[in-house]
């Protein structure tokens, strides 16, 4: 039997004004188990807390009920008070007689009556409370960043800066991501490579950062503070530690006809290659799909020219396993395929290109060495049409494209248009837009400059179709302001393709038990207040994997995610919330209903041996909850028909007791 103390707070006149607090304290004195009951002006004050502490000592209380304001306000305060007096803090229950009683009821009689009932419910619950001790789990002081674009690099640099080791896993042979492919960045027009490559070098040189390029995450288990991750290092057939990045092999390789993915297939590379001059790690990679030696066993030229002896045709995929305390997802984005948009003739004409391809065409390190030339014939285009919102803002019933706004297209299109006019004033530039969206620092000014200073023709309307005709592209479009249909004989058409999360994100989310929205963007723990955390504890989000973002936003989110990771890794132990689910193995049937509803993957099953009558034993499948992963929602407790799954602090019989107490009148 519990020895319960009841403390009724006046909250000045906030409660005492509509609730007869003396009467409440008196009435609750008669409840079973209550050995002490009093009221006081301000229970949360130091003096009020002292009353509680003294009563705990004097009356050997095993549980207390505070009738006061909302538990959301002072539950933590009173739990601390109890703990200070040597009582387990989870033996405290609050009856909310302010927000949910005195403040909403004007009548003293009904207010007092209700306060007594709420007090009774809390007493009934405390009777069934048990002391709870939060679990502790150690924190592995190493972070994993999945994706080596600007988001991943920034996150890794910030974490390493705080003194924690970080590993970056990148699927490509080099880090750098999309930003490495860009020419200039809006709205300042500084060159992307000039600001990105120093960061790549910093990451490579930082002793705390390990880069696993040409690698992918193949398995994740564990939970916050204790993730076990298996990383697959794909065979690159070049020993990373020996290769000096001299590039001789890439010049001598006889296989010259490999589409160069870094330039989006607009030129070719060799079968052994370094993606670009500033690649990190600057190490060659052999493409097994094209290498003659790997395919037929005849060639071996690269091995012959390599003075460092770095080539290894027998290399195999390797798997390494590492422990991490925190995981940051930074898998980024890709432009969507233009296949379904036949009307723009993307697959019919080489001169219809996406904006990312346009970036490569204008980049000094690109296929045309920075000269804007038509991909088809290498001629200088004189009339360029930019089409915005290709595949963005589509209705789901249109069955192609995405429903969301891709966010970055308005600004990079303005940039492309402006740079084109700047470099080639003889070129006429049209931009077809639905809306120009420029919410960002100095964004609208930038767009206005494109129109006012550079004379870009912004046309409110959409392109209906593009038809290749001889060397020209006939563009039929509407000008909604002038009420005209335009027919433009363009030399080049640039499509602002919608962006979508990288394809690797979906299987990764499954491995991490991190949730995604219908577009495969990762979901935040809270859209406003916890934007860089995933609902899965210990998994953080950085960059465009969470939603379309430009570079400054990506970098801020990357640093924010890093701050969250640092906050986690600083701790030696994680103190869990003890109000988590637990399975009673004697009752559990192992039916898996509970695991189906657990949003955190906290429930696992194992075969366990049970003693049976007559000295026999029985192997039976039972559930167990990992208290470090469980967040205490209780979904499993209702999915469980036998009641084997119960939630500490909100047990079935506790809630039932509250129901009974409320209905007992």
């Amino acid at each position: 039997m519990q020895r319960i103390g009841v403390f009724v707070c006046w909250c000045g006149s906030n409660i005492a004004g509509t609730v007869d607090v003396h009467a409440v304290a008196e009435a609750l004195k008669n409840e079973s188990g209550v050995v002490f009951s009093t009221d006081y002006q301000y229970m949360c004050s130091q003096a009020g807390q002292d009353i509680i502490k003294n009563a705990i000592a004097e009356h050997k209380l095993t549980g207390i009920v505070v009738c006061s304001c909302s538990p959301r306000m002072h539950e933590a305060t009173f739990r601390k008070t109890a703990a200070a007096a040597g009582l387990n803090p989870y033996m405290v229950e609050i009856a909310n007689i302010r927000e949910q009683c005195s403040w909403v009821h004007k009548d003293m009689l009904s207010g007092t009556e209700k306060a007594v009932i709420l007090g009774r419910a809390a007493i009934a619950k405390v009777h069934l409370n048990a002391p709870l001790i939060p679990g502790q789990s150690p924190v592995a002081k190493r972070a994993l960043v999945i994706g080596g674009g600007i988001a991943g690099i920034q996150t890794a640099l910030d974490i390493a800066d705080a003194g924690f080791p970080v590993d970056i896993v990148e699927t490509k042979p080099t880090i750098g991501g999309k930003m490495a492919q860009l020419d200039k960045t809006f709205p300042t027009l500084d060159c992307a490579a000039c600001i990105l490559t120093p960061k790549m070098v910093d990451a490579a040189q930082n002793e705390l950062i390990k880069i696993y390029s040409y690698s992918e995450v193949s398995q994740v288990s564990g939970y916050v503070g204790n993730f076990d991750v298996t990383i697959k290092r794909r065979a690159r057939f070049v020993k990373e530690d020996l290769c000096t990045g001299c590039g001789l092999c890439t010049e001598k390789c006889p296989q010259k006809k490999v589409p160069n993915e870094f330039n989006l297939g607009m030129d070719t590379r060799r079968a052994i290659y370094i993606p670009f001059a500033q690649a990190v790690p600057k190490v060659a990679t052999i493409d097994p799909d094209y290498c003659t030696m790997l395919k037929t066993g005849k060639c071996g030229i690269c091995s012959k020219v390599c003075t460092a002896g770095a080539i290894d045709y027998t290399a195999k995929d390797e798997f390494i396993t590492e422990k991490y305390g925190a995981i940051v997802v930074a898998t980024g984005y890709n432009p969507i395929s233009m296949e379904k948009f036949d009307e723009f003739a993307y697959s019919q004409s080489k001169d219809v290109i996406t904006s990312l391809e346009f970036e490569r065409l204008t980049n000094a390190a690109g296929p045309t060495a920075g000269k804007l030339l038509r991909p088809s014939d290498g001629e200088h285009p004189h009339k360029i049409v930019f089409v915005q919102c290709v595949g963005s803002r589509c209705d789901s019933c249109a069955e192609k494209g995405k429903e969301y706004c891709s966010k970055i297209c308005c600004m990079y299109t303005a940039k492309h248009a402006m740079l084109t006019r700047d470099k080639y004033p003889d070129t006429e530039v049209y931009v077809f837009y639905i809306d120009v969206r420029t919410p960002g620092k100095a964004f609208d000014e930038f767009y206005r400059r494109a129109v006012e200073e550079y004379g870009v023709h912004y046309v409110k309307g959409m392109v209906g179709k593009v038809v290749p005709q001889g060397k020209k592209l006939m563009v039929q479009a509407s000008d909604l302001i002038d009420g005209k249909q335009l027919h433009i004989d363009a030399d080049l058409v640039v499509l602002a393709a919608a962006i979508e999360p990288d394809k690797s994100a979906r299987p990764l989310a499954t491995m991490l038990t991190a949730s995604m929205d219908t577009n495969d963007f990762f979901t935040e723990a809270h859209p406003k207040l916890r934007p860089v955390e995933s609902p899965t504890a210990g998994v953080f989000l950085s960059g465009a994997c969470q939603g379309p973002k430009d570079i400054p936003e990506t970098v801020s989110q990357a640093s924010a995610a890093a701050a969250k990771v640092i906050g986690l890794l600083c701790k030696d132990h994680l103190t869990g919330n003890p109000c988590v689910a637990s399975a009673n193995e004697m009752l559990c049937s192992g039916c898996s209903q509970c695991a189906n509803v657990c949003p955190y993957g906290a429930i696992t099953y194992s075969e366990k041996e049970f003693r049976m009558p007559n000295r026999t034993t029985l192997m039976r499948r039972v559930a167990s909850v990992n208290p470090a992963v469980c967040q205490g929602c209780g979904a499993c407790t209702v999915a469980c028909p036998s009641g084997a799954m119960d939630l500490n602090g909100f047990k079935n019989n506790q809630i039932m007791a509250e129901v009974d107490a409320i209905c007992r009148n």
Binding site: S70, R72, V104, D107, I117, A121, C663
Partner: protein
Amino acid sequence: MSELNQEYKPLIVAFCCNWCSYAGADLAGSNRLAYPADVKIIRVPCSCRVNPMFILRAFQRGADGVILCGCHPGDCHYTTGNYYTRRRMSMLFSMLDYLGIERERTRVEWVSAAEGAKFASTMNDFAKKVASLGPNKRLEDLRCKP
């Protein structure tokens, strides 16, 4: 019964999730938005913690109406809890209706932490509807009455 001449007051049990609806109820309090004292709130971590047994138990012990409040779908603190609540309660309430129990005695309402006004108006409306049905006879267990 001695209190025959007294005005009939229904007993309403409201289960509120800790993160949205309980906070919404607190906000209704902070804004002094009145609703009947017949409404008694039980705090649960998430609407998905509410077992149909609790609801039936409340009716059995004399409650006249039971209402469940949770975060709006998509806003669950635990991301998916209220989606399960929605399915479970859809099925349970439909079953109660099938057994001939007045459907106005049960309700699910999504109330966010910012919707103090919605909380109060929901409770006023629900209390009024339940009061108009009169005491719950079909689900109560007479042995539990004094």
